[in-house]
């Protein structure tokens, strides 16, 4: 907000306006912005009946701005409107060094700030692979597929373990708008139909809700900034290679041209004419015959991807295999097996890998043991 003349808040007409809402272009003071922001989230929760009293809700927390603001706002609204929720923070350590370890320390601080218990589960324990190892095997092009699939299942398994009955994620309007475009580009009509829903899987034991369905990413950043919330702002080091990049750039350009375009993208997905047979495909969950996880296919995607990784053909679940990467993965697989069997590395040197995970990060105190996936490496 610039200019010498004092601009008053459009809402209270009393205090000085300190920001312009990206969504509505209203000039607001801090307090009115907080109220507008929190009220819209509350209205989304009420409109879609996202929560019921007595539910144990796991807030998916990465330490980033979305999940930090989610924790703050849901805690605030839970107290203000008496939702009657039992909240907890649920985090997944994908094993991205220099990124996830630092961001999870932020979640640890949020645990203390909001008084909500934090539970952390790791890819390494669950799948036998970290994302750094996966990227080395797969390359930088398709690794987001692995991370997305694995994280979803890790969150679900972790949530079941801690007794949660619902999961809330910090997916915002920008994320949903990008997903709408991606599904349009992939010709995935069933996903296109359900990606804009505020609540998914409500017929299952762990529904997922998106209280930020209509909340703009810029407003989440503004809220976090003005409230001085503690969040980790660095992007994942593997994200520049994501396919979402083109869709994200387009959404940003659309927002600059017409701020309500983001909401319009979400509304377009809500308004699609999808025939009944596609809807049946959308809502028919089964279980994976391999691991028992919820899956619309006979074998879930996580099992397929893991099989590919473990066999040294990481492209198994996503595309054609490359000989070079297969050989490297096989070599690594042999090295790891040798390491785990005699406590030393394959080259004979004493193994100090466990010592290198010395507790330099606070969140590690919250990492809990989880039963390994049936298809995990070394099971």
């Amino acid at each position: 907000m610039s200019g010498g003349k004092k601009r008053l808040c459009n809402s209270c007409k009393d205090a000085r306006a300190v920001l312009r809402r990206p969504k509505t272009m209203d000039s607001l003071c801090r307090e009115c912005f907080y109220e507008a922001f929190e009220t819209e989230v509350h209205e989304t929760i009420m409109k879609y009946n996202l929560f019921k009293a007595g539910e144990k809700v796991a807030l998916a927390a990465s330490g980033g701005k979305d999940s930090t603001v989610l924790a703050h706002v849901v805690t605030t609204l839970n107290a203000r409107y008496g939702y009657g929720l039992d909240l907890l923070l649920l985090s997944i350590d994908e094993g991205i060094s220099g990124y996830r370890d630092d961001s999870l320390d932020t979640v640890k601080r949020n645990e203390e700030t909001y008084g909500i218990p934090l539970h952390v589960f790791s890819y390494k324990d669950l799948y036998g692979w970290t994302m750094d190892e996966i990227v080395e095997a797969v390359g930088k092009k398709n690794n987001c597929t692995f991370c997305g699939v694995f994280r979803r299942q890790a969150l679900d398994r972790g949530a079941h373990l801690v007794g949660a009955t619902k999961m809330a994620t910090g997916h915002n309007a920008d994320d949903i708008a990008e997903t709408v475009l991606l599904n349009l580009l992939r010709s995935d009509v069933p996903r296109l139909g359900r990606c804009s829903s505020a609540i998914t899987g409500d017929e299952c034991s762990l529904p997922r809700v998106k209280p930020f369905k209509y909340t703009y990413e810029k407003e989440i950043v503004m809220y976090a900034y003005f409230k001085r919330l503690d969040y980790f702002s660095t992007e994942c080091k593997y994200s520049p290679f994501a396919a979402r990049g083109l869709a994200r750039e387009f959404v940003k350009d659309l927002e600059a041209a017409r701020p309500r375009a983001i909401i319009d993208l979400v509304k377009s997905a809500e308004r699609l004419r999808i025939n009944d047979s596609a809807k049946i495909v959308m809502s028919k969950p089964g279980t994976c015959r391999n691991c028992g996880y919820l899956s619309s296919q006979d074998v879930c995607k996580a099992c397929i991807l893991l099989e590919g990784l473990n066999k040294g053909i990481p492209q198994l679940g996503i595309g054609k295999s490359r000989g070079g990467s297969r050989d490297r993965a096989l070599q690594r697989s042999n090295n790891e097996k040798a390491k785990s069997s005699n406590g030393s590395c394959a080259n004979g040197a004493p193994c100090d890998c466990k010592q290198s995970s010395h507790l330099t990060h606070n969140y590690l105190k919250n990492v809990e043991k989880i039963e390994a996936h049936p298809a995990a490496r070394f099971t």
Binding site: L184, S187, I263, S268, R271, N275
Partner: protein
């Protein structure tokens, strides 16, 4: 030309279809066609859209909308050279007898030719090209105004939103076409939008909140305009921009023009942004446009005769029920238009804002009578 080993030069690639002539025009990186087979391949697509899906059987009066771009020219060529004989003549193999008028809607007195290649071809007076009838929008829609040309310009300039201005231009062009068709007794209007253009329109519609109307972009035939009004046939909907570029190079006798750097002419315009997006997508993934159209084709199609969906009285987009909430109870008839038109053309988000907005009333009063009546009668 010799290869690196100094041996015999490689033999030229033969046409993928006839395997006799040299394949000069390459599509989808792998398939090379000779000129005859390229034209036959493309005219098959056009005939399919016209006859199989469009329903032309012979004896109809048809108008081909010529925008001035290369796809219009290619449509005119493919129809005249390969698909049409004059009405009254005996039906030939692969040719249907119907009368066709090629017309161009002149909205703001701009040049007929959008593409320099089109101008170069037309200057040669090719035998397959008919005279293009210029239809002035001011004469059709605003003939009662004192200075109709000025009136149209004022109307368009009064829209502050860049996307809304372009939407209104398209609305006025469509309205002119429909009025002209009714006056001339045309039962069909042919549009030359390519698959790439339709994909771009679908992306722009998604960005404007018109998801309910999305399935209409996969139709070859559009008969939403009601009784007595012509059907619109998208005769080039299965032809890609790459194929149009190849055909244009054949007509010009030049090499295919390579895509230059992509620059967005107007970053405030959703249509321009959608154009750049689909082009970037197509460059990174040659199946991109086809994936978009495949998505759209999987949605539930509109059966215009039986479904009878409520359409926006301004832009004709089918409206979802939540766009019509409160329209009947509102003080202003403008509440009956779709959300995209409310925001883009009238600059208002809610029915309450529309009712109070003088600017919106001024724009409404400048619209052609035929559109005003449709809004008032909704």
């Amino acid at each position: 030309m010799r290869n690196n080993n100094g041996g015999e030069p490689p033999s030229p690639r033969l046409c993928a279809k006839c395997k006799e002539q040299v394949g000069v025009y390459t599509l989808r990186r792998n398939n090379s066609y000779c000129r005859d087979c390229l034209e036959e391949y493309l005219s098959q697509k056009v005939r399919g859209a016209l006859c199989k899906r469009g329903g032309l059987i012979g004896g109809e009066k048809v108008g081909l909308c010529f925008s001035g771009g290369m796809s219009s020219l290619c449509a005119a060529y493919l129809i005249e050279a390969h698909s049409r004989i004059p009405s009254g003549e005996r039906r030939q193999r692969k040719k249907v007898p119907f009368d066709m008028t090629v017309f161009h809607v002149d909205l703001l007195g701009e040049s007929l030719y959008q593409d320099a290649r089109v101008e170069r071809i037309m200057e040669q007076n090719p035998p397959w090209c008919q005279e293009i009838e210029i239809v002035k929008a001011e004469d059709v829609l605003f003939h009662e105004q004192k200075a109709p040309g000025e009136h149209i310009k004022n109307l368009i300039d009064s829209i502050p939103d860049s996307t809304g201005r372009e939407d209104l231009k398209m609305i006025l062009i469509r309205e002119t076409m429909l009025e002209k068709a009714m006056k001339e007794g045309w039962s069909y209007i042919l549009m030359a939008n390519t698959a790439d253009a339709r994909a771009r329109e679908a992306v722009a519609a998604t960005a404007k909140g018109q998801g309910f109307a999305l399935s209409s972009f996969s139709c070859a035939i559009d008969s939403r305009y009601g009784e007595g009004r012509p059907r619109v046939v998208y005769c080039m909907k299965d032809v890609t921009q790459e194929e149009v570029d190849c055909l244009s190079s054949a007509l010009l006798g030049e090499d295919v023009v390579q895509q230059g750097d992509l620059v967005c002419p107007d970053k405030k315009n959703i249509h321009s942004l959608a154009d750049i997006f689909t082009k970037q997508l197509q460059m990174s993934n040659p199946g991109g446009v086809s994936n978009i159209m495949s998505s759209v084709a999987k949605l539930t199609e509109f059966d215009w005769e039986t479904d009878n969906p409520a359409c926006c009285p301004l832009c004709w987009a089918p409206m979802h029920e939540d766009e019509m909430l409160g329209a009947h109870a509102s003080e202003t008839p403008l509440a009956s238009v779709c959300e995209s038109c409310k925001v883009g053309v009238f600059g208002c988000l809610t029915n309450e804002e529309l009712a109070k907005s003088e600017h919106a009333s001024q724009i409404f009063n400048k619209l052609p009578d035929v559109i005003q009546n449709r809004i008032l009668n909704k």
